[in-house]
Protein backbone atom coordinates (compact mmCIF):
# COMPACT_ATOMS: atom_id res chain seq x y z
CA UNK A 1 0.00 0.00 0.00
CA UNK A 2 1.38 3.41 -0.92
CA UNK A 3 2.13 6.07 1.68
CA UNK A 4 -0.67 8.40 0.74
CA UNK A 5 -3.26 5.60 0.86
CA UNK A 6 -1.93 4.56 4.28
CA UNK A 7 -2.05 8.15 5.51
CA UNK A 8 -5.58 8.66 4.19
CA UNK A 9 -6.88 5.45 5.77
CA UNK A 10 -5.21 6.31 9.07
CA UNK A 11 -6.85 9.74 8.95
CA UNK A 12 -10.18 8.18 8.08
CA UNK A 13 -9.99 5.68 10.93
CA UNK A 14 -8.96 8.20 13.56
CA UNK A 15 -10.65 11.36 12.32
CA UNK A 16 -13.33 11.21 15.03
CA UNK A 17 -10.64 11.66 17.65
CA UNK A 18 -9.13 14.53 15.63
CA UNK A 19 -12.52 16.23 15.46
CA UNK A 20 -13.01 15.84 19.20
CA UNK A 21 -9.58 17.46 19.79
CA UNK A 22 -10.34 20.40 17.48
CA UNK A 23 -14.03 20.84 18.39
CA UNK A 24 -13.42 22.79 21.64
CA UNK A 25 -11.61 25.42 19.57
CA UNK A 26 -13.56 25.43 16.30
CA UNK A 27 -17.15 25.11 17.55
CA UNK A 28 -17.16 28.02 20.03
CA UNK A 29 -15.57 30.16 17.32
CA UNK A 30 -18.23 29.21 14.75
CA UNK A 31 -20.96 29.83 17.31
CA UNK A 32 -19.41 33.13 18.33
CA UNK A 33 -19.29 34.38 14.75
CA UNK A 34 -22.98 33.58 14.29
CA UNK A 35 -22.72 33.07 10.54
CA UNK A 36 -24.76 30.95 8.16
CA UNK A 37 -23.67 27.59 6.76
CA UNK A 38 -21.85 29.03 3.74
CA UNK A 39 -19.70 31.47 5.69
CA UNK A 40 -19.05 28.78 8.33
CA UNK A 41 -17.81 26.46 5.58
CA UNK A 42 -15.30 29.14 4.55
CA UNK A 43 -14.17 29.58 8.18
CA UNK A 44 -13.86 25.81 8.63
CA UNK A 45 -11.79 25.75 5.43
CA UNK A 46 -9.45 28.42 6.82
CA UNK A 47 -9.19 26.51 10.08
CA UNK A 48 -8.39 23.30 8.22
CA UNK A 49 -5.80 25.11 6.13
CA UNK A 50 -4.07 26.16 9.36
CA UNK A 51 -4.31 22.59 10.60
CA UNK A 52 -2.74 21.31 7.38
CA UNK A 53 0.10 23.80 7.86
CA UNK A 54 0.58 22.41 11.38
CA UNK A 55 0.68 18.85 10.09
CA UNK A 56 3.19 19.70 7.38
CA UNK A 57 5.37 21.45 9.97
CA UNK A 58 5.44 18.19 11.88
CA UNK A 59 6.15 16.26 8.72
CA UNK A 60 9.27 18.38 8.20
CA UNK A 61 10.26 18.13 11.86
CA UNK A 62 9.71 14.36 11.82
CA UNK A 63 11.99 14.08 8.82
CA UNK A 64 14.54 16.61 10.14
CA UNK A 65 15.10 14.96 13.50
CA UNK A 66 15.74 11.69 11.79
CA UNK A 67 12.13 10.66 11.89
CA UNK A 68 12.03 8.92 15.22
CA UNK A 69 8.84 8.96 17.21
CA UNK A 70 10.80 8.76 20.44
CA UNK A 71 12.79 11.81 19.36
CA UNK A 72 9.65 13.93 19.03
CA UNK A 73 7.93 12.44 22.03
CA UNK A 74 10.81 13.59 24.21
CA UNK A 75 9.67 17.15 23.53
CA UNK A 76 5.98 16.36 23.79
CA UNK A 77 5.26 18.46 26.88
CA UNK A 78 7.33 21.40 25.68
CA UNK A 79 5.69 21.45 22.24
CA UNK A 80 2.19 21.10 23.71
CA UNK A 81 2.88 23.81 26.29
CA UNK A 82 4.20 26.12 23.56
CA UNK A 83 1.11 25.57 21.39
CA UNK A 84 -1.54 25.54 24.13
CA UNK A 85 -0.52 28.84 25.69
CA UNK A 86 -0.84 31.00 22.55
CA UNK A 87 -4.03 29.09 21.74
CA UNK A 88 -5.34 29.95 25.20
CA UNK A 89 -4.44 33.62 24.78
CA UNK A 90 -6.20 33.77 21.40
CA UNK A 91 -9.32 32.04 22.71
CA UNK A 92 -9.53 34.28 25.77
CA UNK A 93 -9.02 37.41 23.68
CA UNK A 94 -11.69 36.20 21.30
CA UNK A 95 -14.01 35.52 24.24
CA UNK A 96 -13.49 39.05 25.52
CA UNK A 97 -13.62 40.45 22.01
CA UNK A 98 -17.07 41.76 21.37
CA UNK A 99 -19.19 40.97 24.39
CA UNK A 100 -21.63 43.83 24.63
CA UNK A 101 -22.23 43.81 28.35
CA UNK A 102 -21.73 46.69 30.69
CA UNK A 103 -18.70 45.56 32.55
CA UNK A 104 -15.37 46.85 33.66
CA UNK A 105 -13.59 44.90 30.92
CA UNK A 106 -15.51 46.61 28.10
CA UNK A 107 -12.91 49.24 27.28
CA UNK A 108 -10.10 46.69 27.21
CA UNK A 109 -12.26 44.27 25.28
CA UNK A 110 -13.12 46.77 22.57
CA UNK A 111 -9.41 47.34 21.96
CA UNK A 112 -8.97 43.64 21.17
CA UNK A 113 -12.10 43.66 19.00
CA UNK A 114 -10.43 46.11 16.63
CA UNK A 115 -7.35 43.93 16.47
CA UNK A 116 -9.46 40.87 15.67
CA UNK A 117 -11.48 42.55 12.93
CA UNK A 118 -8.30 43.45 11.09
CA UNK A 119 -6.80 40.02 11.26
CA UNK A 120 -9.82 37.70 11.24
CA UNK A 121 -8.52 35.42 8.49
CA UNK A 122 -5.12 35.09 10.12
CA UNK A 123 -6.79 34.46 13.48
CA UNK A 124 -8.69 31.39 12.24
CA UNK A 125 -5.66 30.03 10.39
CA UNK A 126 -3.52 30.41 13.52
CA UNK A 127 -6.18 28.62 15.59
CA UNK A 128 -6.04 25.77 13.07
CA UNK A 129 -2.24 25.77 13.06
CA UNK A 130 -2.02 25.60 16.85
CA UNK A 131 -4.55 22.77 17.09
CA UNK A 132 -2.68 21.01 14.26
CA UNK A 133 0.48 21.02 16.36
CA UNK A 134 -0.98 18.58 18.83
CA UNK A 135 0.14 15.24 20.21
CA UNK A 136 -3.25 13.56 20.15
CA UNK A 137 -3.20 9.72 19.78
CA UNK A 138 -4.05 9.72 16.03
CA UNK A 139 -1.36 12.26 15.46
CA UNK A 140 1.24 10.12 17.20
CA UNK A 141 0.24 7.27 14.90
CA UNK A 142 0.64 9.60 11.93
CA UNK A 143 4.13 10.58 13.08
CA UNK A 144 5.03 6.89 13.29
CA UNK A 145 3.59 6.31 9.83
CA UNK A 146 5.41 9.32 8.37
CA UNK A 147 8.65 8.12 9.93
CA UNK A 148 8.34 4.87 8.00
CA UNK A 149 8.41 6.74 4.67
CA UNK A 150 12.06 7.67 5.21
CA UNK A 151 12.04 10.79 3.02
CA UNK A 152 10.86 14.39 3.30
CA UNK A 153 8.54 14.06 0.30
CA UNK A 154 7.09 10.82 1.63
CA UNK A 155 6.59 12.34 5.08
CA UNK A 156 4.82 15.39 3.61
CA UNK A 157 2.65 13.22 1.39
CA UNK A 158 1.73 10.97 4.30
CA UNK A 159 0.66 13.89 6.49
CA UNK A 160 -1.25 15.55 3.64
CA UNK A 161 -3.18 12.32 3.05
CA UNK A 162 -3.72 11.91 6.80
CA UNK A 163 -5.10 15.45 6.87
CA UNK A 164 -7.48 14.68 3.99
CA UNK A 165 -8.78 11.60 5.80
CA UNK A 166 -9.42 13.43 9.06
CA UNK A 167 -10.97 16.46 7.35
CA UNK A 168 -13.97 14.42 6.24
CA UNK A 169 -15.15 14.45 9.85
CA UNK A 170 -15.26 18.24 9.79
CA UNK A 171 -17.89 18.36 7.03
CA UNK A 172 -20.82 18.69 9.50
CA UNK A 173 -19.14 21.58 11.37
CA UNK A 174 -20.46 24.43 9.16
CA UNK A 175 -24.02 23.26 9.79
CA UNK A 176 -23.74 24.74 13.24
CA UNK A 177 -24.90 27.83 11.36
CA UNK A 178 -28.38 26.30 11.21
CA UNK A 179 -28.80 26.89 14.94
CA UNK A 180 -31.12 29.80 15.54
CA UNK A 181 -30.44 32.20 18.34
CA UNK A 182 -28.66 35.15 16.78
CA UNK A 183 -26.95 37.41 19.29
CA UNK A 184 -27.58 35.04 22.20
CA UNK A 185 -25.82 32.12 20.49
CA UNK A 186 -23.01 34.41 19.49
CA UNK A 187 -22.51 35.57 23.08
CA UNK A 188 -22.65 31.98 24.33
CA UNK A 189 -20.06 30.98 21.70
CA UNK A 190 -17.71 33.77 22.73
CA UNK A 191 -18.09 32.92 26.40
CA UNK A 192 -17.44 29.25 25.58
CA UNK A 193 -14.28 30.31 23.74
CA UNK A 194 -13.15 32.18 26.85
CA UNK A 195 -13.86 29.18 29.12
CA UNK A 196 -12.04 26.87 26.69
CA UNK A 197 -9.15 29.33 26.64
CA UNK A 198 -8.89 29.14 30.42
CA UNK A 199 -8.67 25.35 30.19
CA UNK A 200 -5.94 25.52 27.54
CA UNK A 201 -4.07 28.08 29.64
CA UNK A 202 -4.04 25.69 32.56
CA UNK A 203 -3.11 22.71 30.36
CA UNK A 204 -0.37 24.75 28.65
CA UNK A 205 1.19 25.81 31.93
CA UNK A 206 1.12 22.25 33.27
CA UNK A 207 2.73 20.87 30.06
CA UNK A 208 5.35 23.59 30.03
CA UNK A 209 6.28 23.05 33.67
CA UNK A 210 6.47 19.30 33.15
CA UNK A 211 8.45 19.79 29.93
CA UNK A 212 11.00 22.04 31.58
CA UNK A 213 11.39 20.43 34.99
CA UNK A 214 10.47 16.80 34.57
CA UNK A 215 11.99 16.02 31.18
Amino acid sequence: MTFHVQGFLLGLSSGGACLSMCAPVLFPYLLGEGNGVGRNAAIAGQFLFGRLAGYLCFAVIAWAINATLAGLSAYRDLIMGCTYLPLAVLMILYGLGRIKTQCAAERTASRFAGLKRDRRLLFVVVLGLLTGLNFCPPFLMAIAGAADTGSLAGSLLFFAAFFAGTSIYFIPAPFIGLLRGGAVMSTVGKMAAGVTGLYYAYAGIIHLVEGVYFQ
Binding site: S20, F27, L31, G189, T196
Partner: protein, 389 residues
Protein backbone atom coordinates in the same frame (compact mmCIF):
# COMPACT_ATOMS: atom_id res chain seq x y z
CA UNK B 1 -56.98 36.06 26.23
CA UNK B 2 -57.99 36.10 29.88
CA UNK B 3 -61.39 34.66 30.59
CA UNK B 4 -61.77 35.16 34.36
CA UNK B 5 -61.61 38.30 36.47
CA UNK B 6 -58.59 37.11 38.44
CA UNK B 7 -58.33 33.46 37.49
CA UNK B 8 -54.88 32.60 38.70
CA UNK B 9 -55.17 34.23 42.10
CA UNK B 10 -57.06 31.33 43.69
CA UNK B 11 -54.02 29.12 43.14
CA UNK B 12 -52.22 31.04 45.84
CA UNK B 13 -55.26 31.32 48.10
CA UNK B 14 -55.48 29.24 51.31
CA UNK B 15 -57.53 26.04 51.29
CA UNK B 16 -59.92 25.01 54.05
CA UNK B 17 -58.63 22.37 56.54
CA UNK B 18 -60.96 19.66 55.26
CA UNK B 19 -60.09 20.32 51.63
CA UNK B 20 -56.41 20.36 52.56
CA UNK B 21 -56.62 16.95 54.25
CA UNK B 22 -58.51 15.46 51.33
CA UNK B 23 -56.01 16.82 48.82
CA UNK B 24 -53.06 15.64 50.90
CA UNK B 25 -54.40 12.13 51.55
CA UNK B 26 -52.96 10.46 48.42
CA UNK B 27 -49.55 12.01 49.17
CA UNK B 28 -49.72 10.74 52.77
CA UNK B 29 -50.30 7.21 51.50
CA UNK B 30 -47.77 7.34 48.66
CA UNK B 31 -44.95 8.77 50.79
CA UNK B 32 -45.72 6.24 53.53
CA UNK B 33 -45.22 3.43 51.04
CA UNK B 34 -42.09 4.86 49.40
CA UNK B 35 -40.31 6.10 52.52
CA UNK B 36 -40.93 2.87 54.44
CA UNK B 37 -39.90 0.83 51.41
CA UNK B 38 -43.06 -1.25 51.94
CA UNK B 39 -41.51 -2.80 55.06
CA UNK B 40 -42.56 -2.88 58.70
CA UNK B 41 -39.86 -0.99 60.60
CA UNK B 42 -39.03 -2.58 63.97
CA UNK B 43 -35.69 -1.03 64.88
CA UNK B 44 -36.52 2.04 67.06
CA UNK B 45 -33.91 4.38 65.55
CA UNK B 46 -34.88 3.47 61.97
CA UNK B 47 -38.53 3.93 62.90
CA UNK B 48 -37.76 7.33 64.45
CA UNK B 49 -35.84 8.43 61.33
CA UNK B 50 -38.78 7.33 59.17
CA UNK B 51 -41.34 9.17 61.30
CA UNK B 52 -39.29 12.37 61.35
CA UNK B 53 -38.76 12.32 57.56
CA UNK B 54 -42.34 11.32 56.80
CA UNK B 55 -43.73 14.04 59.03
CA UNK B 56 -41.30 16.60 57.65
CA UNK B 57 -42.24 15.93 54.00
CA UNK B 58 -45.96 15.79 54.60
CA UNK B 59 -46.23 18.76 56.94
CA UNK B 60 -44.51 20.85 54.25
CA UNK B 61 -46.83 19.47 51.58
CA UNK B 62 -49.91 20.17 53.70
CA UNK B 63 -48.68 23.71 54.32
CA UNK B 64 -48.19 24.17 50.56
CA UNK B 65 -51.81 23.22 49.98
CA UNK B 66 -53.24 25.04 52.97
CA UNK B 67 -51.41 28.35 52.52
CA UNK B 68 -51.22 28.35 48.72
CA UNK B 69 -47.49 29.13 48.94
CA UNK B 70 -45.11 26.90 47.00
CA UNK B 71 -41.53 28.16 47.20
CA UNK B 72 -41.65 29.03 50.90
CA UNK B 73 -42.10 25.37 51.90
CA UNK B 74 -40.25 23.83 48.97
CA UNK B 75 -37.14 25.75 50.00
CA UNK B 76 -37.28 24.33 53.54
CA UNK B 77 -37.12 20.78 52.19
CA UNK B 78 -34.66 21.64 49.43
CA UNK B 79 -32.14 23.32 51.73
CA UNK B 80 -32.49 20.60 54.37
CA UNK B 81 -32.03 18.00 51.64
CA UNK B 82 -28.75 19.58 50.49
CA UNK B 83 -27.33 19.65 54.02
CA UNK B 84 -28.60 16.16 54.81
CA UNK B 85 -27.18 14.85 51.53
CA UNK B 86 -23.73 16.02 52.57
CA UNK B 87 -24.16 14.45 56.02
CA UNK B 88 -25.33 11.16 54.53
CA UNK B 89 -22.90 11.07 51.61
CA UNK B 90 -19.77 12.06 53.52
CA UNK B 91 -20.45 9.66 56.36
CA UNK B 92 -21.20 6.92 53.82
CA UNK B 93 -17.87 7.58 52.12
CA UNK B 94 -16.02 7.60 55.43
CA UNK B 95 -17.72 4.33 56.30
CA UNK B 96 -16.86 2.72 52.93
CA UNK B 97 -13.38 4.19 52.40
CA UNK B 98 -12.27 5.56 55.70
CA UNK B 99 -12.05 9.08 54.23
CA UNK B 100 -13.99 11.78 52.39
CA UNK B 101 -11.36 11.68 49.66
CA UNK B 102 -11.44 9.37 46.66
CA UNK B 103 -8.15 7.61 45.96
CA UNK B 104 -6.76 6.58 42.56
CA UNK B 105 -7.35 2.94 43.52
CA UNK B 106 -11.04 3.63 44.19
CA UNK B 107 -11.33 5.47 40.87
CA UNK B 108 -9.59 2.69 38.94
CA UNK B 109 -11.88 0.15 40.59
CA UNK B 110 -14.87 2.17 39.33
CA UNK B 111 -16.23 2.85 42.80
CA UNK B 112 -16.89 6.59 42.47
CA UNK B 113 -20.59 7.46 42.86
CA UNK B 114 -22.12 9.01 39.73
CA UNK B 115 -23.62 12.47 40.06
CA UNK B 116 -26.16 13.97 37.66
CA UNK B 117 -23.81 16.81 36.66
CA UNK B 118 -21.50 14.27 34.99
CA UNK B 119 -24.29 13.51 32.50
CA UNK B 120 -23.28 16.65 30.57
CA UNK B 121 -19.84 15.20 29.92
CA UNK B 122 -20.53 11.51 29.28
CA UNK B 123 -23.13 11.81 26.52
CA UNK B 124 -20.85 12.82 23.59
CA UNK B 125 -18.09 10.27 24.30
CA UNK B 126 -20.74 7.58 24.91
CA UNK B 127 -22.35 8.36 21.55
CA UNK B 128 -19.07 8.55 19.64
CA UNK B 129 -16.97 5.83 21.24
CA UNK B 130 -19.36 3.78 23.41
CA UNK B 131 -17.24 4.75 26.39
CA UNK B 132 -18.52 6.15 29.68
CA UNK B 133 -15.77 8.54 30.75
CA UNK B 134 -16.36 8.24 34.47
CA UNK B 135 -14.76 6.24 37.26
CA UNK B 136 -18.00 4.58 38.26
CA UNK B 137 -19.80 1.31 37.73
CA UNK B 138 -22.84 0.93 35.47
CA UNK B 139 -24.94 -1.01 37.97
CA UNK B 140 -23.00 -2.42 40.87
CA UNK B 141 -22.22 0.46 43.20
CA UNK B 142 -23.81 3.12 45.38
CA UNK B 143 -25.23 5.76 42.97
CA UNK B 144 -24.38 3.70 39.90
CA UNK B 145 -24.28 5.28 36.43
CA UNK B 146 -27.32 3.43 35.06
CA UNK B 147 -29.53 4.21 38.05
CA UNK B 148 -28.69 7.91 37.98
CA UNK B 149 -29.24 8.16 34.21
CA UNK B 150 -32.65 6.49 34.50
CA UNK B 151 -33.65 8.80 37.37
CA UNK B 152 -32.46 11.78 35.32
CA UNK B 153 -34.50 10.76 32.25
CA UNK B 154 -37.62 10.27 34.39
CA UNK B 155 -37.16 13.58 36.16
CA UNK B 156 -36.51 15.39 32.89
CA UNK B 157 -39.71 14.06 31.35
CA UNK B 158 -41.75 14.96 34.41
CA UNK B 159 -40.23 18.17 35.72
CA UNK B 160 -37.81 19.45 33.07
CA UNK B 161 -35.49 21.93 34.76
CA UNK B 162 -37.70 21.63 37.78
CA UNK B 163 -35.00 19.11 38.76
CA UNK B 164 -32.87 22.06 39.81
CA UNK B 165 -35.41 23.18 42.42
CA UNK B 166 -36.95 19.92 43.53
CA UNK B 167 -34.36 17.15 43.15
CA UNK B 168 -30.79 18.44 42.91
CA UNK B 169 -28.90 17.55 46.06
CA UNK B 170 -26.50 20.46 45.61
CA UNK B 171 -28.81 23.32 44.64
CA UNK B 172 -30.06 23.78 48.20
CA UNK B 173 -26.71 25.24 49.22
CA UNK B 174 -26.88 28.36 47.08
CA UNK B 175 -30.67 28.47 47.41
CA UNK B 176 -30.18 28.61 51.17
CA UNK B 177 -27.48 31.25 51.12
CA UNK B 178 -29.46 33.35 48.64
CA UNK B 179 -32.17 33.73 51.31
CA UNK B 180 -29.98 34.99 54.13
CA UNK B 181 -30.37 38.71 53.36
CA UNK B 182 -33.69 40.45 52.96
CA UNK B 183 -32.34 42.80 50.27
CA UNK B 184 -29.74 42.23 47.58
CA UNK B 185 -26.52 44.21 47.77
CA UNK B 186 -25.72 43.62 44.10
CA UNK B 187 -28.71 44.35 41.85
CA UNK B 188 -29.27 44.91 38.13
CA UNK B 189 -27.15 41.99 37.00
CA UNK B 190 -27.35 41.82 33.18
CA UNK B 191 -29.28 38.73 32.12
CA UNK B 192 -26.48 37.92 29.68
CA UNK B 193 -24.46 36.54 32.57
CA UNK B 194 -26.92 33.65 32.71
CA UNK B 195 -25.63 32.59 29.28
CA UNK B 196 -22.36 31.70 30.96
CA UNK B 197 -23.67 28.35 32.17
CA UNK B 198 -24.41 27.43 28.54
CA UNK B 199 -20.87 28.42 27.59
CA UNK B 200 -19.55 26.24 30.42
CA UNK B 201 -21.77 23.41 29.15
CA UNK B 202 -20.37 23.68 25.61
CA UNK B 203 -16.80 23.98 26.84
CA UNK B 204 -16.88 21.09 29.33
CA UNK B 205 -18.81 18.80 26.99
CA UNK B 206 -16.36 19.36 24.12
CA UNK B 207 -13.18 19.36 26.23
CA UNK B 208 -14.30 16.23 28.08
CA UNK B 209 -14.85 14.48 24.75
CA UNK B 210 -11.38 15.61 23.64
CA UNK B 211 -9.44 14.52 26.70
CA UNK B 212 -11.81 11.64 27.62
CA UNK B 213 -12.11 12.82 31.19
CA UNK B 214 -14.97 14.64 32.95
CA UNK B 215 -13.09 17.93 33.28
CA UNK B 216 -15.81 19.72 35.24
CA UNK B 217 -15.57 17.05 37.97
CA UNK B 218 -11.78 17.13 37.93
CA UNK B 219 -11.33 20.88 37.88
CA UNK B 220 -14.40 22.99 38.45
CA UNK B 221 -17.24 21.46 40.50
CA UNK B 222 -17.72 23.65 43.60
CA UNK B 223 -19.64 20.90 45.37
CA UNK B 224 -16.53 18.77 45.71
CA UNK B 225 -16.13 20.87 48.82
CA UNK B 226 -19.21 19.23 50.36
CA UNK B 227 -19.02 15.75 48.83
CA UNK B 228 -15.75 14.05 47.79
CA UNK B 229 -12.48 15.06 46.20
CA UNK B 230 -9.01 13.74 45.37
CA UNK B 231 -6.62 13.70 48.34
CA UNK B 232 -4.20 16.63 48.24
CA UNK B 233 -0.88 14.95 47.52
CA UNK B 234 0.87 17.28 45.05
CA UNK B 235 0.67 20.69 43.41
CA UNK B 236 -2.00 19.59 40.94
CA UNK B 237 -4.41 18.24 43.57
CA UNK B 238 -3.71 21.26 45.79
CA UNK B 239 -4.68 23.57 42.91
CA UNK B 240 -7.82 21.48 42.30
CA UNK B 241 -8.83 21.66 45.97
CA UNK B 242 -8.18 25.41 45.93
CA UNK B 243 -10.46 25.86 42.90
CA UNK B 244 -13.26 23.77 44.44
CA UNK B 245 -13.19 25.67 47.71
CA UNK B 246 -12.91 29.09 46.03
CA UNK B 247 -15.80 28.40 43.68
CA UNK B 248 -17.94 27.01 46.47
CA UNK B 249 -17.20 30.01 48.64
CA UNK B 250 -17.70 32.48 45.80
CA UNK B 251 -20.60 31.05 43.81
CA UNK B 252 -22.51 29.04 46.40
CA UNK B 253 -22.06 31.32 49.43
CA UNK B 254 -20.83 34.90 48.87
CA UNK B 255 -22.52 35.83 45.58
CA UNK B 256 -25.89 34.26 46.50
CA UNK B 257 -25.84 36.19 49.78
CA UNK B 258 -25.03 39.46 47.97
CA UNK B 259 -27.39 39.01 45.03
CA UNK B 260 -30.23 36.92 46.54
CA UNK B 261 -29.92 34.71 43.45
CA UNK B 262 -28.72 31.15 42.89
CA UNK B 263 -25.48 32.17 41.24
CA UNK B 264 -23.84 28.75 40.98
CA UNK B 265 -26.96 27.31 39.36
CA UNK B 266 -27.38 30.31 37.05
CA UNK B 267 -23.82 31.08 36.05
CA UNK B 268 -21.78 27.93 36.28
CA UNK B 269 -23.70 24.67 36.44
CA UNK B 270 -23.53 22.91 33.04
CA UNK B 271 -26.20 20.45 34.11
CA UNK B 272 -28.64 23.28 34.79
CA UNK B 273 -27.94 24.65 31.31
CA UNK B 274 -28.53 21.26 29.70
CA UNK B 275 -31.61 20.68 31.83
CA UNK B 276 -33.11 23.94 30.53
CA UNK B 277 -33.67 22.21 27.19
CA UNK B 278 -35.74 19.51 28.91
CA UNK B 279 -38.25 22.24 29.80
CA UNK B 280 -39.39 21.88 26.20
CA UNK B 281 -40.53 18.28 26.84
CA UNK B 282 -41.83 18.71 30.38
CA UNK B 283 -45.59 19.27 30.58
CA UNK B 284 -45.29 21.91 33.31
CA UNK B 285 -44.38 25.55 32.85
CA UNK B 286 -44.76 28.90 34.60
CA UNK B 287 -46.97 31.38 32.75
CA UNK B 288 -47.78 35.03 33.31
CA UNK B 289 -51.27 36.33 32.64
CA UNK B 290 -50.68 39.64 30.82
CA UNK B 291 -54.18 40.80 31.72
CA UNK B 292 -53.43 40.52 35.44
CA UNK B 293 -49.79 41.61 35.34
CA UNK B 294 -49.23 45.22 36.46
CA UNK B 295 -45.51 45.23 35.57
CA UNK B 296 -44.46 45.68 39.20
CA UNK B 297 -41.44 43.47 38.37
CA UNK B 298 -41.48 41.75 41.76
CA UNK B 299 -41.22 38.41 39.96
CA UNK B 300 -38.19 39.61 37.96
CA UNK B 301 -36.55 40.81 41.17
CA UNK B 302 -37.28 37.59 43.03
CA UNK B 303 -36.49 35.04 40.31
CA UNK B 304 -33.38 33.23 41.57
CA UNK B 305 -32.17 32.11 38.12
CA UNK B 306 -32.68 35.17 35.86
CA UNK B 307 -35.56 33.33 34.16
CA UNK B 308 -37.87 36.32 34.06
CA UNK B 309 -37.28 39.64 32.37
CA UNK B 310 -39.47 42.28 30.80
CA UNK B 311 -39.35 40.52 27.45
CA UNK B 312 -40.50 37.22 28.94
CA UNK B 313 -43.30 39.00 30.82
CA UNK B 314 -44.52 40.39 27.53
CA UNK B 315 -44.29 36.88 26.09
CA UNK B 316 -46.55 35.59 28.87
CA UNK B 317 -44.17 33.12 30.49
CA UNK B 318 -40.84 32.42 32.09
CA UNK B 319 -37.73 31.85 29.96
CA UNK B 320 -36.73 28.28 29.18
CA UNK B 321 -34.22 28.35 32.03
CA UNK B 322 -37.08 28.41 34.60
CA UNK B 323 -36.45 26.04 37.53
CA UNK B 324 -40.14 25.98 38.54
CA UNK B 325 -39.36 26.86 42.15
CA UNK B 326 -42.60 28.82 42.45
CA UNK B 327 -40.98 31.93 43.88
CA UNK B 328 -42.59 34.20 41.27
CA UNK B 329 -45.94 32.48 41.83
CA UNK B 330 -45.63 33.18 45.56
CA UNK B 331 -44.47 36.75 45.17
CA UNK B 332 -46.94 38.01 42.57
CA UNK B 333 -49.48 40.13 44.48
CA UNK B 334 -52.10 39.73 41.74
CA UNK B 335 -51.74 36.03 41.05
CA UNK B 336 -50.63 36.73 37.49
CA UNK B 337 -47.85 34.12 37.70
CA UNK B 338 -49.10 30.55 37.81
CA UNK B 339 -48.16 26.96 37.04
CA UNK B 340 -49.61 25.71 33.78
CA UNK B 341 -49.82 22.40 31.93
CA UNK B 342 -48.91 22.67 28.26
CA UNK B 343 -51.74 22.02 25.85
CA UNK B 344 -54.45 23.10 28.30
CA UNK B 345 -56.28 26.44 28.22
CA UNK B 346 -54.33 29.42 29.52
CA UNK B 347 -55.28 31.64 32.45
CA UNK B 348 -57.83 29.31 34.05
CA UNK B 349 -57.85 26.25 36.33
CA UNK B 350 -54.61 27.48 37.89
CA UNK B 351 -55.39 25.72 41.15
CA UNK B 352 -55.73 22.34 39.42
CA UNK B 353 -52.53 22.86 37.40
CA UNK B 354 -50.63 23.79 40.54
CA UNK B 355 -51.93 20.76 42.43
CA UNK B 356 -50.94 18.40 39.62
CA UNK B 357 -47.50 19.97 39.45
CA UNK B 358 -47.08 19.77 43.23
CA UNK B 359 -48.01 16.11 43.24
CA UNK B 360 -45.37 15.35 40.58
CA UNK B 361 -42.69 17.53 42.14
CA UNK B 362 -43.21 16.75 45.83
CA UNK B 363 -43.58 13.04 45.21
CA UNK B 364 -40.37 13.00 43.17
CA UNK B 365 -38.61 15.04 45.83
CA UNK B 366 -39.88 12.76 48.60
CA UNK B 367 -38.95 9.54 46.80
CA UNK B 368 -35.57 10.72 45.47
CA UNK B 369 -34.50 12.88 48.40
CA UNK B 370 -36.52 11.35 51.24
CA UNK B 371 -34.31 8.27 51.49
CA UNK B 372 -31.21 10.44 51.79
CA UNK B 373 -32.80 12.65 54.43
CA UNK B 374 -33.98 9.58 56.31
CA UNK B 375 -30.47 8.10 56.21
CA UNK B 376 -28.94 11.36 57.44
CA UNK B 377 -31.48 11.62 60.27
CA UNK B 378 -30.65 8.05 61.30
CA UNK B 379 -26.94 8.89 61.32
CA UNK B 380 -27.58 12.00 63.41
CA UNK B 381 -29.67 9.96 65.88
CA UNK B 382 -26.78 7.51 66.09
CA UNK B 383 -24.39 10.40 66.68
CA UNK B 384 -26.56 11.78 69.45
CA UNK B 385 -27.11 8.44 71.18
CA UNK B 386 -23.83 6.58 70.63
CA UNK B 387 -21.33 9.27 69.64
CA UNK B 388 -20.77 7.50 66.29
CA UNK B 389 -22.30 8.64 63.01
Amino acid sequence: MSTDANPAAPAAAPSSPLRTVLLALPMLLLTFFFLSGGKVLHEPKVLAAFIITYAFVNVLFILMIHTGKTDRYRAIFFITYAVMFSVSFISHMIEARGAMTVSDDEALAGRVPFCHIVTTMVLIPAALSKTIIFWGSMTKTYASIASMLIIWIGASLALGRGWCSWACFFGGWDDGFSRLRRKAVIRNIPVKWSYLSFAVLIAVALISAAVMEPVYCSWVCPFKAVSEYSPVTDVKTAVQAGIFITLFGGLAIILPVLTRRRMQCSLLCPFGAMQSFTNYISPYEVRIDPAQCRKCKLCIRDCPTFSLDEKSLEGGGARFTCVKCGKCVDSCPRGAAYFHIKGTPLHRNAKIYRMLFLYSAVLFMAVFGGGTVQNAVLRLINLATTGRI
